[in-house]
């Protein structure tokens, strides 16, 4: 598991107070009972951890843990390449 995936899962697990082992990329927000406030909270923590900014219009499309991880990877790559942040989905 790469660092971004591991750290993202840790953040989601901490936010919901569940073991990280219970989460994989296919786990849905619905399964984790993640509501809109949780989603904002998790997005904030992810942004702080990776020094990125998730565009407002991307938040609504996050449905799974994999969506978060893929979005973070895109934004980190874009940042390292010096380009503008990409959409997360």
């Amino acid at each position: 598991m790469d660092d971004i995936t591991k750290r993202s899962i840790e953040i989601i697990a901490k936010a919901k107070n569940i073991p990280a082992d219970n989460i994989n990329l296919n786990t849905t927000f619905e399964e984790l009972n993640i509501d809109s406030l949780d989603k904002i909270n998790i997005s904030f923590e992810v942004e702080e951890a990776f020094h990125i900014e998730i565009p407002d219009d991307a938040l609504g499309s996050l449905k799974t843990v994999g969506d978060v991880v893929n979005g973070v990877k895109q934004l980190v790559e874009a940042k390292e390449a010096g380009s503008a942040p990409a959409a997360t989905s």
């Binding site: 936010a15 919901k16 949780d38 904002i40 909270n41 997005s43 702080e48």
Partner: protein, 407 residues
Amino acid sequence: MNRVVITGLGCVSPIGSSVSAFRESLFSGRTGISRIANVPDAPDGDPGVRYTQAAQVLDFDPAQHLDSGIISASNRNTHFAIVAARQAAQQAELTKHHAPGDIAIIMGCACGGRSSEESEVKNLYTRNARAHPLTIVRTMSSAGASNISIDLKITGPTLDISTACASATHAIGLAFHMVRSGMSTAAICGGHEAPLSWGFYRAWDSMRVVSPTQCKPFAADRDGMTLGEGAAMLVIETLESAQARNATIFAELIGFGMSADANHITQPQAEGAAAAMRKAIADAGISPDEVGYINAHGTGTQANDATESAAIHQVFGARASQIPLSSTKSLHGHAIGASGALEALATVLALQEGRLPQTAGVTAPDASLNVDVILNEPRPTGPTVAISNSLAFGGLNAVIALRSWSA
């Protein structure tokens, strides 16, 4: 008008996070005041404040009661509120017997999510950090009432009242009038507060009203208040509904009075406190001669205790020096917006048990105040009617009157 009785009790406090633990501490005189510990954002080393004591809730782990989402989206004061409200609602079997829309939730809270706010402000000014997106919902003063309603699925009138140190007594009084008038058939009322944050300490320290030793209400050597935290809740309902379902009744709530000094932001006035006491007694439809116990506001400051004693003399005349009086802040500290609720709980237990709690930590009462301070141990014989005073900064006064219940 409906008669209003108390059928549920709950608390999270420095002298116990259940009513049974609170009761045991109350009547054994075990104080919850100890050296300050675990202050959020306090710097290492010399704390730089005059005082070192506070009444803290040291046995409370929110994770044992609440899910992570609620914990994250709310402040410690709300954690206290939810847990104390659950206790009271469960004891009264509130939502089993009353429709969600027939129950009110009236809370008192003066400070809101103080520690969460300070933490964010610190990050903002020291690191230019972004504010956490949950800052607003953690810090708003009405979060307690809101989260109780969400947690218990109660849909009646719901609000938090903020009148500094009288907040919870105003809340109980308003809830009492709502149930008495028929606006709601039942209510959860009380207060919740968690003010023990570093900035708040420093602000109180600057005012020089906090005791550098320990809260000693009505003592000759009293030197200030001791900050506290916690929550206490009462379930109240109409006597008719309580009797119809054969509920256990702990006491009857019979009167509420409130007033404003309209004089000074920190200097209390005897006339204002006396007016609130008179109104509570008149609202209860009783004579001042029937009042047999006063749970005083009794902060332990020079100004409060002298003013409150003078007000008691204005209201009760020659009887003033013979009415047993105690300040339970000497046990559970001054929890600001929650104080009136903790003191209402203490008063209910005193009436229920027929014994009156002591004022802890006082060896020599201030004789010039000429009031009967209960010292050393609880008084074994109790009265049937009591009042509980709350006198707030800003000159906002609230008093409730209660009567013991016998089936």
